[in-house]
């Protein structure tokens, strides 16, 4: 039953899918993993990113991924503003846990409803030359519709990883995650740093959205399907670890693809989340978590 052909294709499909999952989860790895902000609206921002890619693609024929990169700075600013509101309304008064969660739920619904009111609920898709093309190496297929998102996600992860470990702001973000008070005592402004980090997290949603719409059709509420997976990946990778997040995303992708191929697709979420549960039982902090 298990042929080398099927097996290697399942692994490759899983890797490519996992790469895309990483793009979805990386913003949360920063916002939830580093800052402990339960931004449940993150997938909704991804949908906004997908719609912007759709609009510029259908109007002007821009490449969707290029649009994602173009939109990222604007998303950064929006993210920074949202964090400012969140800070003033909840974090400053210490109400971030429950009220903050409700706030992001609200943000998610507002985004969905606004998209529905403006663009309706029809499925939206984009056109690009590579969609539908496939490379073949030996007996292994690389559909470009999945390969392009994988490559972009890998580059994005590498860039964020380098930023976090090499730059002053990146290290400051990690510092604020570890000990806010100590950072404050050293004369840095934790609110400004968190604002930066939140903006960065939301900026990745622009890119992830453009990848999502390359893979398949998008409608305003489709983001909800990714909430569970994205949070699971961040937890599995270890809160705050970018490297762990990327590996966790690949593991989830490969597990899903293998189960889909060999056991039946309806088992894949159960098995994928089973892997999450077992990993957390053995390593409560996740694969590469801060302890």
């Amino acid at each position: 039953m298990i042929s080398a052909d099927l097996f290697s294709n399942a692994v490759v499909s899983g890797l490519l899918l996992g790469g895309f999952y990483a793009a979805v989860a990386i913003g949360l790895a920063i916002v939830f993993g580093q800052l402990d902000i339960v931004n449940i609206a993150h997938p909704a921002f991804i949908i906004v990113g997908a719609y912007i890619a759709y609009i510029l693609n259908s109007r002007f024929g821009f490449d969707p991924v290029f649009v994602g990169l173009l939109a990222a700075p604007a998303f950064f600013v929006v993210g920074a503003v949202i964090y400012r509101v969140y800070f003033l309304a909840f974090e400053r008064t210490g109400q971030e846990s429950l009220s903050g969660l409700a706030f992001f739920f609200g943000v998610m619904f507002i985004i969905e409803v606004v998209l529905i009111l403006i663009y309706g609920v029809d499925y939206r898709l984009v056109q690009a030359d590579y969609i539908g093309q496939s490379w073949r190496i030996g007996f292994v297929d690389f559909p470009l519709r999945m390969l392009v998102p994988f490559a972009v996600a890998a580059a994005l992860t590498a860039a964020i990883y380098v930023f976090m470990s090499r730059t002053f702001m990146g290290r400051a973000i990690q510092a604020v995650a570890q000990d806010r008070l100590a950072l404050q005592l050293m004369g840095a402004d934790p609110v400004r740093i968190k604002q930066w980090a939140f903006g960065l997290g939301i900026a990745t949603a622009a890119i992830a959205g453009s990848l999502l719409i390359v893979i398949g059709p998008v409608e305003p509420s489709v983001g909800r399907l990714y909430i569970g997976r994205a949070f699971a990946i961040v937890v599995l990778g270890g809160m705050g670890s970018i490297k762990g997040m990327f590996i966790a995303a690949l593991i989830l992708g490969i597990v899903e693809s293998m189960v889909s191929t060999f056991a039946g697709p309806s088992w894949s979420p159960a098995v994928a989340f089973g892997v999450l549960a077992i990993t957390l039982a053995l390593r409560p902090a996740g694969l590469f978590g801060r302890r």
């Binding site: 899918l17 609920v121 029809d122 898709l125 056109q127 297929d141 893979i215 398949g216 059709p217 889909s260």
Partner: protein
């Protein structure tokens, strides 16, 4: 004295005039209210909004002709947000608070079934819009469903697909069935399984996938590994797109592919998939082929297409809107024929009459479904890339089945 007299005369005269007016065109003052809920937000909102446009066109057409029973027709409707749990409350409100004169259903099986117990208690006739076997358990004798799935909806749904397969030479021997883990798709797959067994096909792959599936290539590859002659798919719009793209990327070698894929009927998805659709055989209910050019349908679609502009709904509206218009035509023709709103008389009339609608002649069977199935199997042909307009006219979705409406022959085996 005189003054009092004058006043009382005037008063009497006034009452007389008023009551005369009331008796003469009693109803002219009182509009006839038709109540329903519709998915205007949530998962089915795209279709729900399109259906509503079709229904409003009917309302305006009827009012232009003087209304129903001489009364102006008005809609009372609420958004059910695609939540079945909202539906019983909304229909109770329509009946008890708004006191509507007639009821029709929302769009879709999951939103029709929850209304039925309420509607049955009040013994209202219930024209319904696209319920797949929604009355199977209730067996309500005043339920009249407009989707042409036929008297045994589960198997009629895919019957054409299997009859076409059986007629090919060499006759296909093996089949793969794949469906989404959700109500409609599972029903479609169950029907396909029965039909496959009846046709003597060996089922070599029979699996379901969860609705949030991002990448379909592993599934298509697993199907390909079993080397089936034909592949039957029961899927929802985003999955249908994923499945068609994955089939192309993997190079699926089946001789027939399609069946129950929801979404391939919608213009935006057709435009995006373009030539990848060529050869796929899939269900549909109405396509712009000359064999289905029923009186009034083109005029209706022209109005719909004008109204649909800028509303984010399907720009051509071939799939659902004509049926949303037709189920109200059924109601209209019955009310006009029995000249009353007596629900028993309306139901009796609906049971025995053949209606002329924009979707053709409609005759209901004992369970309120169409007496004869008209689930079309259409094959995509000669589809060009990135061109929406091509789907407006005939030639791109050729009707293969049933033979009364056939507009061309199947291309077999299906080629990528």
């Amino acid at each position: 004295m005189v003054r009092i007299k004058t006043r009382s005369v005037l008063r009497t005269l006034g009452i007389a005039l008023a009551s005369a007016a009331f008796a003469g065109s009693a109803a002219a003052a009182e509009p006839l209210k038709i109540g329903f809920s519709m998915a205007l937000t949530g998962g089915l909102a795209g279709a729900g909004k399109a259906a509503l446009i079709g229904m409003e066109i009917w309302r305006d057409d009827v009012n232009k002709k003087g209304g129903l029973l001489g009364r102006k027709v008005e809609f009372v409707y609420y958004d059910d947000a695609t939540q079945p749990a909202n539906v019983p409350g909304l229909y109770t409100k329509l009946l008890e608070v708004d006191k509507v004169d007639l009821l029709v259903s929302a769009y879709g099986t999951n939103l029709i079934a929850p209304a039925l117990p309420i509607v049955m208690r009040k013994k209202m006739v219930f024209p319904s819009l696209f319920g797949l076997a929604a009355n199977e358990e209730f067996k309500y004798d005043r339920y009249f469903q407009i989707m042409p799935s036929g008297p045994s909806p589960l198997t009629d749904w895919s019957k054409g697909f299997f009859e076409l397969a059986a007629a090919q030479k060499p006759k296909p021997q093996t089949i793969a069935i794949v469906a989404a883990d959700a109500e409609f798709a599972l029903n479609a797959a169950a029907g396909a399984r029965k039909n496959a067994q009846a046709a003597g096909l060996k089922i070599v792959y029979d699996k379901t996938y969860p609705p949030p599936t991002t990448d379909f290539t592993p599934i298509v590859r697993a199907i390909q590994a079993t080397n089936p002659d034909i592949v039957y798919v029961g899927s929802y719009p985003p999955d249908s797109v994923g499945m068609v793209k994955a089939a192309h990327e993997v190079g699926l070698k089946a001789k027939m592919f399609g069946g129950g894929m929801v979404g391939l009927q919608f213009a935006a998805i057709q435009k995006n998939l373009g030539p990848l659709l060529n050869g796929i055989v899939n269900y549909d209910f109405w396509v712009p082929e000359p064999t289905l050019d029923f009186p009034g349908v083109k005029e209706f679609l022209a109005k719909y297409q004008e109204e649909a502009k800028g509303k984010g709904v399907d720009p051509y509206g071939h799939y659902l809107p004509p049926f949303a218009y037709a189920y109200l035509q059924v109601l209209e023709q019955s009310v006009n024929a029995v000249k009353s709103l007596d629900q028993a008389k309306l139901a009796a009339h609906m049971r025995k009459t053949t209606f002329d609608t924009v979707v053709g002649k409609v005759k209901f069977g004992a369970n309120g479904e169409w007496a004869r199935s008209r689930v079309l199997m259409v094959q995509f042909r000669d589809v060009q890339p990135d061109n929406l307009e091509q789907f407006a006219g005939p030639g791109k979705r050729v009707v293969l089945y049933p033979k009364d409406w056939k507009s061309g022959d199947i291309v077999f085996p299906y080629k990528q």
